[in-house]
Symmetry: D3
Subunit: 328 residues, 6 copies
Amino acid sequence: MPFSDMSREALESYRPDLPAPADFDERWTATLAEARAAGGEVAVTPVDAGLALIEASDVTFPGFGGDPVRAWWLRPRGLTATAPVVVEFNGYGGGRGLVHERLLWAAAGYHYVFMDTRGQGSAWGNGGDTADASGGGDAGAPALPGFMTRGVREVETYYFRRLLTDAARCVDAVRTLPGIDPTRVVVAGASQGGGLAIAAAGLVPDVAGALVDVPFLCHIERGVRVAEHDPYQEIARYLAVHRDREEETFRTLAYVDGVHHAARAQAPALFSVALRDDVCPPSTVYAAYHAWAGPAQMVVYPYNGHEGGQAYQQRRQLTFLDHLWENR
Amino acid sequence: MPFSDMSREALESYRPDLPAPADFDERWTATLAEARAAGGEVAVTPVDAGLALIEASDVTFPGFGGDPVRAWWLRPRGLTATAPVVVEFNGYGGGRGLVHERLLWAAAGYHYVFMDTRGQGSAWGNGGDTADASGGGDAGAPALPGFMTRGVREVETYYFRRLLTDAARCVDAVRTLPGIDPTRVVVAGASQGGGLAIAAAGLVPDVAGALVDVPFLCHIERGVRVAEHDPYQEIARYLAVHRDREEETFRTLAYVDGVHHAARAQAPALFSVALRDDVCPPSTVYAAYHAWAGPAQMVVYPYNGHEGGQAYQQRRQLTFLDHLWENR
Amino acid sequence: MPFSDMSREALESYRPDLPAPADFDERWTATLAEARAAGGEVAVTPVDAGLALIEASDVTFPGFGGDPVRAWWLRPRGLTATAPVVVEFNGYGGGRGLVHERLLWAAAGYHYVFMDTRGQGSAWGNGGDTADASGGGDAGAPALPGFMTRGVREVETYYFRRLLTDAARCVDAVRTLPGIDPTRVVVAGASQGGGLAIAAAGLVPDVAGALVDVPFLCHIERGVRVAEHDPYQEIARYLAVHRDREEETFRTLAYVDGVHHAARAQAPALFSVALRDDVCPPSTVYAAYHAWAGPAQMVVYPYNGHEGGQAYQQRRQLTFLDHLWENR
Amino acid sequence: MPFSDMSREALESYRPDLPAPADFDERWTATLAEARAAGGEVAVTPVDAGLALIEASDVTFPGFGGDPVRAWWLRPRGLTATAPVVVEFNGYGGGRGLVHERLLWAAAGYHYVFMDTRGQGSAWGNGGDTADASGGGDAGAPALPGFMTRGVREVETYYFRRLLTDAARCVDAVRTLPGIDPTRVVVAGASQGGGLAIAAAGLVPDVAGALVDVPFLCHIERGVRVAEHDPYQEIARYLAVHRDREEETFRTLAYVDGVHHAARAQAPALFSVALRDDVCPPSTVYAAYHAWAGPAQMVVYPYNGHEGGQAYQQRRQLTFLDHLWENR
Amino acid sequence: MPFSDMSREALESYRPDLPAPADFDERWTATLAEARAAGGEVAVTPVDAGLALIEASDVTFPGFGGDPVRAWWLRPRGLTATAPVVVEFNGYGGGRGLVHERLLWAAAGYHYVFMDTRGQGSAWGNGGDTADASGGGDAGAPALPGFMTRGVREVETYYFRRLLTDAARCVDAVRTLPGIDPTRVVVAGASQGGGLAIAAAGLVPDVAGALVDVPFLCHIERGVRVAEHDPYQEIARYLAVHRDREEETFRTLAYVDGVHHAARAQAPALFSVALRDDVCPPSTVYAAYHAWAGPAQMVVYPYNGHEGGQAYQQRRQLTFLDHLWENR
Amino acid sequence: MPFSDMSREALESYRPDLPAPADFDERWTATLAEARAAGGEVAVTPVDAGLALIEASDVTFPGFGGDPVRAWWLRPRGLTATAPVVVEFNGYGGGRGLVHERLLWAAAGYHYVFMDTRGQGSAWGNGGDTADASGGGDAGAPALPGFMTRGVREVETYYFRRLLTDAARCVDAVRTLPGIDPTRVVVAGASQGGGLAIAAAGLVPDVAGALVDVPFLCHIERGVRVAEHDPYQEIARYLAVHRDREEETFRTLAYVDGVHHAARAQAPALFSVALRDDVCPPSTVYAAYHAWAGPAQMVVYPYNGHEGGQAYQQRRQLTFLDHLWENR
């Protein structure tokens, strides 16, 4: 039977009661404070991307532990006025690739920053350039996955604690870039990138908007139970070996679960979900969507899998941002 | 074993002797003449793609039989000087999709025309808008494949005769668009799009350049023998049923084989090939590359499958076109 | 888990409320009237099938739009009395093949007509000989599928509108053949053939019986939701691309849905269903069976997939027809 | 890459030198003598198959060890003259099924006997009725495979020794049936049935003809090396466990290898081979074909897999037998 | 979705009402009586396993019909006191293999007997040495499966009747071995071995304990309905061919169903179940566990498939036996 | 076709000319010197494994960078004389698991040390306990693979440089354990463990013997070209993304290639190879075997895949070691 985890009706009222860890806010406050205290500079180097209409730069900013994290920054060539920015995070296993790959938002007149994902970038696409320095120095340079269980024994060592911190610190860094209006930062992403956008919007609640497509890292326990594929199933395979670590593993995972981060997000959000998504099942997406503390809309793609709405959803996002600025 | 059809050394000297049908040129000359005689206008309608930097239009031009064929036309907003154009053809099963999907060439300062593929556009991506009118009127509206054997009993009725003619007529149409330099038309495409680019460059030999990636429709008989997947295997499955039509089928296919069209192409070409490509095996790509009558370069991706060089190859193409105009 | 969509008990009382389009009857009445008005002759050519006991002919009759549709006609050699006829329709992707392939009904003493399927016949078996003329002229000659979405944008252009009309017109034609008792026409088929038999029995309600095995094209919306394979999933893949055409697509499909045609059928019917059928799920079969307006029996094969009852079911059918004529 | 084990040219001259076991003829002579000595009667029971044109009987004849083996016997109803017979053997895992399943040869005017396969008949189709009595009494009743390694430790206990003997004894039995011309017995079969037809023609060299399609059990050692599927791979899996029995296993298999039986066959034969056959690879078929001691023709299906020529090949066989009798 | 047949909560209270055949006890009493009456000796031959710490013997004991069944017997070298024994049965398709493969229980200080499985032993591992003599003499020597439907037409001829009897007779034999305490026999096994351990504990109710892991042959009808793989699905495939034997087949299977044998077992038992087990689904395991007439504990592995708890479960078993003897 | 990379004859003479990097010895000498200089103690903690015959300890020794690496140490309980030791390394993705899992060598009278694999241990089996400390501190705790490309940009940061050093340092540590004869250390392993055994025997050339089964990490470039599965294909996927790093990647890999380490090994070796091994293809195994500088024997399993000889090979190894000590 084609994948489906709940009927459309059940999804629309699915609001599981998932309590966050008691020290969730305390821990994240401390984590961000430490990361900000670690210092490090935002370095910007111009890049010749061969694009007549778009100016490009290679940005390095301090992420978790002050580790250098790379990003591409694109904007309309010759743009002089201050303008809003879209900050996008990537899907699982991908890196920032080459500079000319993602042109939509700059072509639409926005600043655009695409964050590299520490340690990832070798599974598909055109590569990444950011080592997971606090997770292994040079040995943490981009390599094949999986990342779901790296350091999962406790939240302090967990890979995704570092990555979510990078996402929040990326927003910090972007606000310092010349020509960007720091009050108009939109976070965006699909799959893992959607999970990071949720986390960034929860950790930096004054972002101006969020574009969240088929997000991963939401309602993780259910994801492990119903998703048919990696990355959720990496956790199941890990627990099939480490048969005595179920409780501690889900305790760690709770700190990166988008359901809890969504409950702290204030910005207007545009979500999308695909009802045949066997990687990030719709119930897990709805759980985060329904937990979102700010205003939120959902776009449903009933016949799509994890690819979701693709260009159709981009068209919705272009309109959503148009209206967002209009209404402010 | 990972897919490989010949060693790298063997590929570099692989030049199979494949005679074209005796009336190859005569038939194609007649076909193009008929298509041009069928008339029809090039209609251009502005489109709001939501892109500050890029102007977009919906183009309809007369293809095979004068049938209306759709295309997207993108160019730098406010471009006043005459500029070169990249005309791209699409891969098998895809349509032109939505207008904001392919921004590279316009962002790089070129005119860019992306031709819809008659009847195709329903297998992946974001859809198509061109019916295979001469192949079934409204009933020929975009729908799921396969197309490899539609009308294959004789070349007159064969689907790809219509599609190759569209590609050539697209070049004709593009040359009439305002602001485009008709002497600087580059044809481009990957997979089926690569096969169409080869055909367009052979049928319209005064195009200025060709960007051909992992092309399909080349050395078809070998493709049927060694490729592991559709579309080449559609032909094998057809012949497994129509056990008495092997000879006539390959007779038809010879008219659309890129090896023969390449032998008539004069423009400088940049090819790419992936050595693990089990859809368009490297030997079939090399056969067309070695047959190319104009100057040609090959970029080899030894570890890639049919996805080929992706952004790495785009970077090569940006440079190739830069040098092309420089040298003229 | 082995495929199952509902428990056996649930199936037995499954009678979904599926309203037909308001103009269902009107449209079909018009469609048949047009087809009949298009004229065309029934041509019969003797064929040497090499069979001592059976006489064979190649029949061409006018189908939708008057298009020539082919069929094989077999009957006991030397049969002089008027006799009943079994008219069979084929499964998806198959053609009428060679004349000596289906001998059961002639060997059992009946006239037997096996209708070719326009445009199909290249996916398995031994080929077909009928072009989808109104759907593309010579370009519509048999070729590989898929057919589910050809012209689906509106019912006027939809492939299956043409095919269902062929099935009804085949009954018309058969009634004119010498030696056949026009009051004793039985329609039959499995899978797509079963869907066509249902449609023929609904469109030509005075047929004498129907043999319907694991029928396709019934309760289509549910089929798309629960079937694991093509052809139902062709529709899902089409809608995954054409994300904005869900409503219009199912509007078109309603006109060919066997549930509505069954509700207009009057003849005694023998159905069969396989409980592990992941191509034509049992709930979709029961929906048509329960909608059947005439007397109907169901044979259940609990452990079979789409192959269904095979020779076991044939034995039931031989008996069913024996009793049918006895009771008249 | 689509399956291919040798080029077509290489196949046409492939004549491996495979010596038969020294006592091959001696053992088989003794085996047949014992089986004939075991006695047992040929019992014929009329069956109502519901077929007006064909008379059917259920036959039981003594096979290996005198074990009762079942068969269906069909012939034109009312046939009075003595006529030739086609004796067919079945593919791996199948049984004789129901009586009305195979009608071609009777409809063509021949006597037709279809032998059940001891112990098999539960893997596909409509079942079998013959226990492998000498291989387990009632416990040997039809059940799922595999059979390739049953008793393979020595030829005396090997399953296929029993089955090949059944095939030879079936010819003996058929020659005693009323109305059958004992000088015009043709043996036939596809896959395992083809292997049995070869064996029967070698063990009973005065049969009148052989129809051998994509035969199994030929050049077995190569089959194990190159075939992609069962049944050949059952042997490989067995040897992967019984790592010390390679030599003795192939010693046993040599006694049932069609290459050696073909070398003893005298009758005219019509073979067919499919070049993409990954179950019975073409090289193994050519090895038997080239070893055939009588006159032989080969029909090649270049694009088919193990399904081979199907109805196309039947048409060839009808013609072949027509000419065979003509020439006698 | 990852395999799951019921939620964990539902499993914990799953106690299906499955009545045993009326003559269940009568038949088994008769079967065991016959087997015991058939006589035969327990033969013990010392084996040099190359193990300094462990003494090994090759044991042959009379099983069903007095057939010779092989087993390995291992015990601490130089052990003089009487000691308990663990008798283990093997999984489907495996044989006793080589003598040095299973060392845990002897290394832990126990006698250990590992019973070969008649006819099996060729599908994985290192082979078996026991023919299914009553099921085919030498022809019944180990060979590839399947065994699920051998002789299933009635319980008298069914393969598993013979195998369960072997398991009970193995306990009889073990009790006669020197140095083994006949009051402290523990039966053990995983998958098919677990089913045999259940049966042995039901048929020989005074065994001292049972270690039952992910048992097969329990609640068989449900296993056929929900398991995704063989061996349960062998039964479904058999019934898909023998469409008229559903009732008689399940009648036979009821005699070997672990649910009924568990209801007759008295010994303390340690069960384990894996919640993602798609071979022996958890509901079938719980059905037997809840039916167990003696004291029983269940260990749950929520993320494992059919591999179950592996070394984790062995650790539990070592402790369980330690406590078992302590408490006696 | 079943996997095969070369014929058996070709394998037996396959000696590719693969030059080691110029500074191979220099680098490894420096690496080992640094590791030895890093210090750290060998700690031994008794463990209650519940095994009456075997004494067990948990060992921690200093590996690469002095990082603590865990191992299990088993030996006959009460053994007083000095005895030889077998040091085993594990396959890819596995950890040392639980202490009672591998009993053969202790039961055979040897000391036995089973080294944990840093960072691995979460993909199958029962877990591991060693972090890849120099590769990420606590964040390097066991987690799912892949490891093939971790830090592969240069040999200094490459994961396998650390792991091979651990293997050599494990031999150092084992020689200090009480009761172990430091002149009689045998290294052993299958797959990755085989590659580590080769490396240990090359880096510590005075080990007394090597048992090398289906080794991984040998003739790596060919492995990437012909193996069908991970881990070799991890490298290909990495290079399919990092299209510009082919040369540097293979430069790094050369330092861990077993072909070069074998050329430095002096101890007698028993190799095994499986001719259908699609994970570690036979040609890569033969390349290392033929490069081995000491005396070596090869055992061939023609029908096995990567599971190789299993218990059959263990039997050969027991005998090989018996003879080894005898001859000294």
